[in-house]
């Protein structure tokens, strides 16, 4: 195994500013010199106080925030300056993201929402739906809800649907933003086992976990992002 040889996620000297054109053109430097690499099968937790830039860093890795310096490579593909279609191909095949919010087309049934990442990859419908059922069952979403749109579900249920969707495809790299927030003990346990299984199959994971016990259990390393935050570093 050449696991440690080439990191799955490589972040080098990443920097970012926000310019608020409609608020006096204020420019806020939010990140400087962020460097981090995550090997296959490894889980790295981002820590730091609220506002330190954990989610910002994660979004730059996913590509929905633009970096203005440095480099992010996932599975060898450079994201900084990449064409939209290359970022989309990477997200389809390699890089999964479980955000804190579920964004779906209203009216689409839950099982389709969960199966969608697989359908987008060209997985046969039956296979994709079997996988969706399996995940929804594990995450204790009652079968009676599978045919309904998750837009009316409770916060915890939506979060679990989001997790099921994020784990439907076996992405080689995963970003998890508070995956255990607002979950009860049993579901939290299920999510932690899903993360363990993903690591065991070789997924490289970057996670944000406010839940300290969860973080200690699944993370191999912790990185305090304050050291990448201009003005916050000691």
């Amino acid at each position: 195994m050449q696991r440690k040889a080439t990191p799955m996620i490589e972040i080098e000297n990443l920097g970012k500013s926000f310019t608020l054109h409609n608020q006096g053109g204020a420019t806020i430097r939010v990140m400087d010199g962020a460097s981090l690499s995550v090997a296959a099968g490894e889980c790295v937790a981002l820590t730091g106080q609220s506002g330190a830039g954990k989610s910002t860093l994660m979004r730059m890795v996913y590509g929905n925030y633009l970096a203005d310096a440095g480099s992010v490579r996932v599975g060898g593909v450079e994201l900084v300056g990449a064409e939209p279609r290359d970022v989309l191909a990477l997200r389809r095949e390699t890089l999964g993201y479980v955000s804190q919010f579920l964004r779906v087309v209203p009216r689409v049934p839950t099982r389709e929402v969960v199966a969608e990442p697989l359908l987008a990859l060209g997985t046969p419908r039956d296979t994709a739906l079997v996988r969706a059922r399996e995940l929804l069952t594990r995450l204790r979403i009652p079968e009676a809800l599978w045919g309904l749109s998750p837009t009316t579900f409770s916060g915890g249920e939506q979060q679990r649907v989001n997790i099921a969707r994020g784990f439907a495809h076996t992405y080689p790299a995963l970003l998890l933003d508070e995956p255990t927030a607002s979950l009860d003990a049993a579901n939290r346990e299920t999510v932690l086992s899903l993360i363990d299984e993903a690591k065991a199959r070789g997924a490289a994971i970057i996670g944000i976990f406010h839940d300290e016990a969860a973080r200690t259990r699944v993370a191999d390393r912790e990185i305090d992002v304050a050291r990448f935050t201009p003005g916050l570093a000691a």
């Binding site: 310019t19 054109h21 409609n22 929905n64 633009l66 939209p84 087309v105 009216r107």
Partner: protein, 256 residues
């Protein structure tokens, strides 16, 4: 992968006023691009120039014609252009009445486009029309009804069926969910997303609704005063807009 559409330096002025200018982009097979901006930003002018409804003052609209490679559609002969817009291209108007023949039955509206490309067998045409009405969730029993007896949402779905029946590769949409109430919009969004995925369609969607582009489009172009001020991956432009106008646009959306 080869480009399906390559737009080069399109400009259109109305008298001395700029409709749109300096617009260039490439669209690849299976890509959906949203064109957003306020009214008067030039987005509909651009769409109409690209679709051949308006003649731009300059520029090229190169399209990957079947078996011919990239050709400038602005210099095609009239029969060639007509054939293209009946087969490989589709245009969904904001107002279904602009895209449907209101005095012809629903089945006829769908069948007509098939006949325009040479279908002659009545049974086959009707069967295909029935199949398409089903795909856009219009009951088969309504096949002989005129669209004037349909609701706005049904008319819009019928317009989509009429456009997609010939298996186009590129669909132009001008505010496709514009005049519909939100529950109907959701149904149409779901339908369009499924069709894009199953048929591998490419689409250009003009809209002022950022929620619609977020759910449908892979990429977006933000227009203001006839210029493209920002372009990129949809969630990047919406989550981290760079241009002052894009920032204003995104921050002006009311949170539900």
């Amino acid at each position: 992968m080869t480009r399906l559409l390559s737009v080069r330096d399109i400009a259109k002025t109305y008298g001395g006023r700029i409709g749109c200018t300096d617009v260039s982009f490439d669209l690849y097979p299976g890509e959906v691009m949203g064109i957003v901006g306020e009214s008067g930003s030039g987005k509909s002018t651009l769409l109409n120039c690209l679709a051949g409804h308006l003649a731009p003052d300059r520029g090229e609209v190169l399209y990957d014609m079947r078996g011919q490679g990239l050709r400038d559609t602005l210099t095609l002969s009239e029969p060639e252009r007509r054939m293209l817009s009946r087969t490989d291209w589709a245009f969904v108007h904001q107002n279904p009445r602009d895209g449907l023949r209101m005095s012809v039955s629903a089945g006829g509206n769908v069948g007509e486009r098939l006949m325009a490309v040479g279908a002659r067998h009545y049974g086959d045409i009707r069967a295909t029309a029935t199949d398409w009405l089903g795909r856009v969730e219009i009951l088969e029993e309504r096949i002989d009804d005129r669209p004037s007896s349909f609701s706005g949402g049904m008319q819009q779905r019928l317009q989509i069926a009429r456009n997609l029946v010939t298996g186009p590769r590129l669909v132009f949409m001008d505010e496709p969910t514009g005049g519909l109430d939100v529950s109907v919009q959701a149904r149409l969004l779901d339908l369009m997303r499924g069709l894009v995925r199953e048929m591998g369609l490419s689409a250009l969607i003009v809209t002022h609704d950022l929620a619609v582009v977020r759910l449908l489009a892979h990429r977006i172009m933000v227009m203001k005063g006839g210029h493209v001020v920002e372009a990129g991956l949809t969630d990047q432009v919406l989550d981290d807009p760079q241009h002052p106008y894009s920032q204003l646009l995104v921050s002006s959306v009311l949170q539900v």
